[in-house]
């Protein structure tokens, strides 16, 4: 029974389900470090999905799809930055507005460009390539882990590493973190914190467009209304859960993907779907409680150790 639940394909499902979350979350944690909690990611992903399709369909090249998605990501990032950084508007409201804007615009363009409503798929849409490394397929585990994923899966892993290095090992990364933690301190050493915030929200736009392009060109080969389906919000949760640390956030996203995939499989064992769908959410809360409790216990222990210190 358990072997039915836990097997290699579960890992595959996890990776597939988590990748869009990882990509978006990596973008969101950049703005988070710059002091902006971006809940507009949902909409940014959606735009990425749509323009990915547009590019791929009209230039019959998945690369063009990604490029168009990225352009859209940059533009929406700039708009977001303008309102949040330039006008210092409430990032929450702007985020929600971006989401509404995206879902309206995509549906509108879907109709005006492709003359369809709801969904668009076509053999002329060129999907993103899948990669495989010869030799790995000898070892089953490595095979499922590293073989024939869509290219963005690998990109997402690389990004986690790159962003970690950027944030903690490069001056620019330090500036970004400073711009969120204490902008004035950055200003007084002659670096514009505004600039850093802008960079972060544009980068977030781009990474979300990756997530979107991955959904519509890598994971699937079609576009449907609101196909981002709340992944933007789950990404936010992952960021908060992971304390905006790239590694931890990645882990959080993976955990989400895992329990999502697990839930799907538990259904066929007769658990009502409503409950299997609850699993990722419940697990997140429980995990948070456990993590913090342990943390508190640690502190308590340390206190007791020093009890004698008086």
């Amino acid at each position: 029974m358990l072997s039915q639940l836990f097997n290699l394909t579960l890992i595959q499902n996890t990776i597939r389900t988590a990748t869009p979350l990882v990509l978006a979350a990596m973008g969101g944690l950049l703005t988070e470090h710059a002091g902006i909690l971006n809940i507009g990611m949902e909409g940014m992903i959606l735009l990425g999905s749509f323009f990915g399709i547009v590019g791929s369909y009209f230039f019959s090249s998945s690369l063009m799809g990604v490029i168009l998605a990225v352009v859209a990501g940059i533009i929406i990032g700039i708009i977001y930055g303008f309102f949040v950084v330039e006008l210092e508007s409430d990032e929450f409201i702007i985020g929600i507005a971006i989401n509404i804007f995206a879902s309206g615009l995509t549906v509108f363009l879907l109709r005006s460009i492709f003359g369809v409503k709801g969904a668009f798929s076509s053999p002329d849409i060129v999907p993103l390539p899948k990669l495989s490394f010869p030799g790995l397929d000898k070892i089953p585990l490595l095979n499922v882990l590293f073989n024939n994923h869509s290219i963005f899966v690998y990109i997402s892993w690389i990004l986690v590493a790159l962003i970690y290095i950027y944030l903690y090992k490069t001056p620019k990364g330090m500036w970004l973190r400073a711009s969120g933690e204490y902008p004035e301190a950055l200003e007084t050493v002659g670096v514009s914190s505004k600039k850093m915030k802008y960079i972060s929200s544009i980068a977030c736009g781009v990474l979300c467009s990756f997530a979107g392009a991955h959904l519509s060109l890598g994971y699937l080969t079609l576009f449907t209304e609101n196909m981002s389906a709340d992944r933007g919000f789950i990404a936010v949760a992952a960021i908060i859960f992971g304390g905006a640390n790239p590694i931890k956030t990645f882990a959080a996203a993976m955990m989400f993907g895992f329990f999502d995939a697990l839930g799907i499989r538990m259904q066929v064992m007769g658990v009502p779907s409503q409950f299997t769908q609850m699993i990722p959410y419940v697990v997140t809360i429980v995990a948070l409680v456990i993590v913090t409790k342990n943390h508190m216990n640690k502190i308590k222990k340390r206190k007791e150790k020093e009890e004698g210190a008086y």
Binding site: K117, Y219, T224, A229, I264, V268
Partner: protein, 332 residues
């Protein structure tokens, strides 16, 4: 008469006002979701479109985008626009009864539910489970047809449902019964994606089913179903479409579709109303007998997986169902 609120509306819509005077028959089509689902709602849209061409009616579509707070509003706007209102979506169950009382002169065609005893309200109920029975039977036959590439010995078939709802459970009941009828050993596994608008989730669910040995997956999940087809393509397996003939989406993996002939039934009813042959206030069941539900296999030029024997067998089952030799279970 339609009282104040109605007058209020008329002020707001001079355009439709003069239209009324021209005594052209009009139909308002109210859908719970939105057009573009490439299945249920689109099919109903085709129905009125056909009526426009053949019966010379005008029509206008009112979408509620699955927003319950719009059901009443849109229904009323439609009722004020046209003497015939086609209402599509089980969600309208309460609302349509309420509004129908308010507009006695409007003829309501309520699709996909069952209400009796309201004079100006005719309901069209599809016997999904009958159609799904055939789908199940077909899947059960195919899953052992190892001659087709990608089909293995294992007797497992699957279904991906949108949400865990009474209607969908009704599909499920028929599907499972159909499979068992062919071969009691066939294992039917169902996954509810929990969403009608998340193709990624649909693909994930289907892939899970395929990875568990299912050769054919029956999708009853709206846009989520689009993902099922992709999963089939990717894992070299097969799928059955729903509501409209969806084979065109991907003829290589979609072997058939269980069609609810929503459009046709709406068209018929409009025609009946024009001819005055409609018995209002009753439920018209559209099952296999009425060709309200059926399996369809796309255009002849498409690659066919379903053999003639299978077709015969299905025909035979259909007969048996029609004259009640087979009792198709319902799911609530």
């Amino acid at each position: 008469g339609c009282g104040k609120g109605n007058e209020g509306k008329e002020e707001t819509k001079p355009a439709t006002e003069e239209a009324k005077e021209q005594k052209v028959d009009k139909v308002g089509l109210v859908v719970a979701g939105g057009l573009g689902d490439r299945s249920f709602y689109d099919s109903s849209n085709e129905g009125v479109e056909k009526a426009k061409e053949d019966l010379g009616i005008e029509y206008k579509v009112y979408e509620c985008r699955n927003d319950p707070s719009l059901y009443t509003d849109q229904l009323i706007q439609a009722s004020e626009y046209a003497p015939i209102v086609a209402v599509v979506g089980f969600e309208f169950y309460d609302v349509v009864q309420e509004v129908a009382k308010e507009f006695p002169d409007v003829n309501y065609i309520y699709v996909d539910n069952e209400i009796e005893g309201i004079d100006n309200l005719t309901t069209i109920s599809y016997v999904e489970n009958e159609g799904s029975f055939l789908a199940g039977a077909l899947a059960a036959m195919l899953t052992q047809e190892t001659s087709i590439e990608g089909i293995d010995e294992g007797k497992v078939i699957g279904m991906v449902g949108g949400k865990d709802l009474p209607v969908i459970r009704n599909f499920k009941a028929g599907y499972e019964a159909g499979a068992k009828y062919i071969d009691p050993e066939v294992k039917v596994e169902t996954i509810f994606a929990g969403d009608f608008e998340d193709p990624a989730k649909g693909k994930e669910s289907a892939l899970a089913l395929y990875s568990r040995g299912a050769d054919i997956v029956y999708q009853v999940a709206g846009k989520t179903g689009e993902g099922v087809f992709e999963a089939a393509e990717e894992s070299g397996k097969y799928a059955i479409g729903v509501d409209t003939d969806q084979r065109y989406i991907n003829p290589d993996v979609i072997v058939a579709s269980m069609v609810k002939r929503v459009g046709a039934s709406i068209y018929d009813t409009i025609e009946k109303i024009q001819k005055g042959t409609l018995e209002p206030g009753k439920v018209y069941y559209y099952g296999l007998e009425e060709n309200g539900v059926e399996l369809s296999f796309g255009e002849p030029d498409m690659k066919q997986f379903v053999t003639d024997e299978m077709i015969e067998k299905l025909e035979d089952i259909k007969k048996k169902i029609v004259n009640n030799e087979i009792e198709v279970p319902t799911g609530k």
